[in-house]
């Protein structure tokens, strides 16, 4: 396989992990990793948490030291962009003018923040948060005297920024158009608890309210936010966290099948079998959701990378890893195992008042996911149960004194190389 060349577009979590997983599997061909974010592959989660608060240093954000790329013979081209793909000739053209041939191409282009579709959205002081440069800018602005910060969007990033900024002593307002926070991602039980925590800490949370316009001063710096109904809020700084859009332009221009994300099959192949897509930019068939979904998480990027590397090495398997996600806000340790959207029944275990509880979500009597607040054992055990396909009925969870820690441990199938039978069973059960 010595002549085999893999070109990875996007040096984020998914692209970086693909390169690593290829080498871990013993792949000896050429690996080129192209990324347009200058510092090279870095880890995003701390950007809205520890890095923003100043407790995590920039060196800790880099996924690996520079020596790693030489040692592993991974050709990293940071600060360059892939401008186009030529599928017929199997080459990519970079903005620097370089043309690279590939045998397999991996699209790991990630996603970018949505902008606010209102007048004034491009004023100075209106920021979004994606990369290290954004986080550095925001951290600098939050490092001085108290500011009036308005966060638009009560999603994970918006709420984490709100929590971090509040912790630094800033005056924080959150405006969310939906009637509750994290409406797409979480059950009302957990989202209500999170909002209550923000309010207890002094954050003003406005739900079911839309931003209609932003106004600035003579120098073009944002000053005022106007909401539906005409209410005005004074702001020195606005962080927009209203979701992301997958970076699909390259795939689109190359005539690959694209929807809300680059459409891939169970092995993460695009409509061109030599090209894979994964991470934030990919729309894949999820046996857990029973349909195609796009997932934005480190787990998804990392586990999909193993699947893509396996396929490139000629040992393909279907991607079935249990999705999981975490968030940290104040002292709330929030963890989600599985997919909780689309449930028809929930059972809450633990104590809502002291902020240690888990919400077990069921669909048709089957466990589909668990949301935990400060109950890490529930989260880990739930992930294991979901991976092994072990069922847990709502009746069992409802029994007085129910405790996941007391369940006998069931062996799990490692997601890195699930057996064919498990995959087949799972796919047909949920198809």
């Amino acid at each position: 396989m010595a002549a085999h060349a893999v070109v990875v577009v996007g040096a984020g979590q998914a692209g970086f992990d693909t390169a690593c997983a290829l080498r871990s599997r013993g792949f000896r061909g050429r690996i080129t990793l192209i990324g347009d974010e200058p510092p090279g592959p870095s880890y995003r989660p701390p950007l809205s948490k520890g890095y923003l608060a100043g407790t995590v240093a920039a060196e800790e954000i880099a996924l690996r030291p520079p020596s790693f790329y030489t040692e592993q013979d991974i050709e990293l081209l940071p600060g360059d962009r892939v401008a186009s793909l030529d599928r017929e000739r199997r080459t990519v053209l970079l903005e620097s003018g370089l043309r690279l041939p590939y045998d397999n191409l991996v699209l790991a282009t990630g996603s970018r923040p949505r902008t606010l579709p209102v007048p004034g959205a491009s004023l100075t002081g209106v920021l979004s948060l994606r990369g290290l440069a954004d986080a550095e800018d925001l951290r600098l602005r939050l490092s001085g005297p108290p500011r009036r910060l308005v966060v638009v969007g009560a999603g994970f990033i918006g709420l984490e920024v709100a929590a971090t900024a509040r912790g630094l002593g800033h005056d924080v307002t959150v405006v969310e158009a939906q009637p509750r926070a994290l409406a797409r991602a979480l059950t009302p039980t957990v989202s209500d608890r999170i909002v209550a925590e923000h309010r207890e800490r002094g954050v003003r949370v406005l739900l079911g309210r839309e931003v209609t316009a932003l106004f600035g001063d003579a120098e073009g710096r944002v000053q005022v936010m106007e909401l539906d109904g005409g209410e005005r809020i004074a702001a020195d700084l606005i962080v927009v966290g209203v979701g992301v859009l997958p970076n699909i332009e390259l795939a689109l221009a190359a005539d690959l099948l694209v929807g809300d994300g680059v459409v891939v099959d169970a092995q993460l192949r695009t409509s061109d079998p030599d090209i894979f897509a994964l991470g934030d930019c990919a729309r894949f068939p999820s046996p857990h959701a029973g349909r195609h979904v796009r997932v934005e998480s480190v787990q998804n990027a990392s586990d999909q990378a193993k699947c893509v590397a396996a396929a490139i090495c000629g040992e393909p398997y279907a991607y079935t890893a249990v999705p999981w996600f975490w968030s940290e806000q104040y002292a709330l340790r929030l963890q989600i195992a599985g997919l909780t959207a689309g449930h028809d029944e929930t059972v809450t275990v633990g104590d809502l008042a002291d902020g240690k509880f888990s919400v077990f979500c069921f669909r048709g009597g089957r466990l589909t996911g668990v949301e935990s607040v400060n109950r890490p054992a529930d989260h880990g055990i739930a992930r294991r149960l979901l991976t092994a396909g072990t069922d847990l009925s709502p009746e069992t969870v409802r029994e007085p004194g129910f405790d996941l820690k007391r369940l006998p441990r069931t062996p799990t199938t490692p997601t890195a190389s699930p057996s064919r039978t498990t995959t087949q069973e799972r796919l047909s059960v949920h198809a």
Binding site: S24, Y43, P45, P46, L63, R64, P65, F68, E71, Q72, V298, Q299, S302, D303, A321, W324, W326, E328, R333, Q335, R375, P376, A377, H379, G380, I381, A382, R383, R384, T387, L404, K405, R409, T412, P414, T415, A416
Partner: protein, 107 residues
């Protein structure tokens, strides 16, 4: 600075020098030691940095707190009395020579 030894399930041994204030998890990452995933980056959320401290270990390791104890319920491989989260093991001179065994799988 401490020498940390990572022993893989197939018997391969990797010995690396790790500087304070890193953790046993970051020591593996910085030195390209396979077998530790650390998806949460060290915030005691994921359990994918699970290691078994060598049974004969006498070096002083910090007590496990309740979060680490809880997270260890969710590891992919069986938890034993020697199980720890490598992201919760700080590296300093006092653990020079530590030997940890890597599990078969992390997720």
């Amino acid at each position: 600075m401490a020498k940390i030894t990572y022993k893989h399930p197939n018997g391969t041994v990797t010995i690396v020098d790790v500087q304070a204030p890193n953790t046993v998890m970051r020591g593996a990452k910085l030195n390209n030691v396979d077998g530790i995933e650390a998806q949460c980056g060290g915030s005691a959320q994921c359990g994918t940095c699970h290691v078994y401290v060598d049974e004969a270990n006498t070096l002083p390791l910090p007590e496990m707190d309740s979060v680490e104890d809880d997270v260890l319920y969710g590891t992919a491989c069986e938890r034993t009395e020697f199980s720890r989260l490598s992201c919760q093991l700080p590296v300093g001179d006092e653990i020079d020579g530590l030997l940890v065994h890597l599990p078969e799988a992390q997720s």
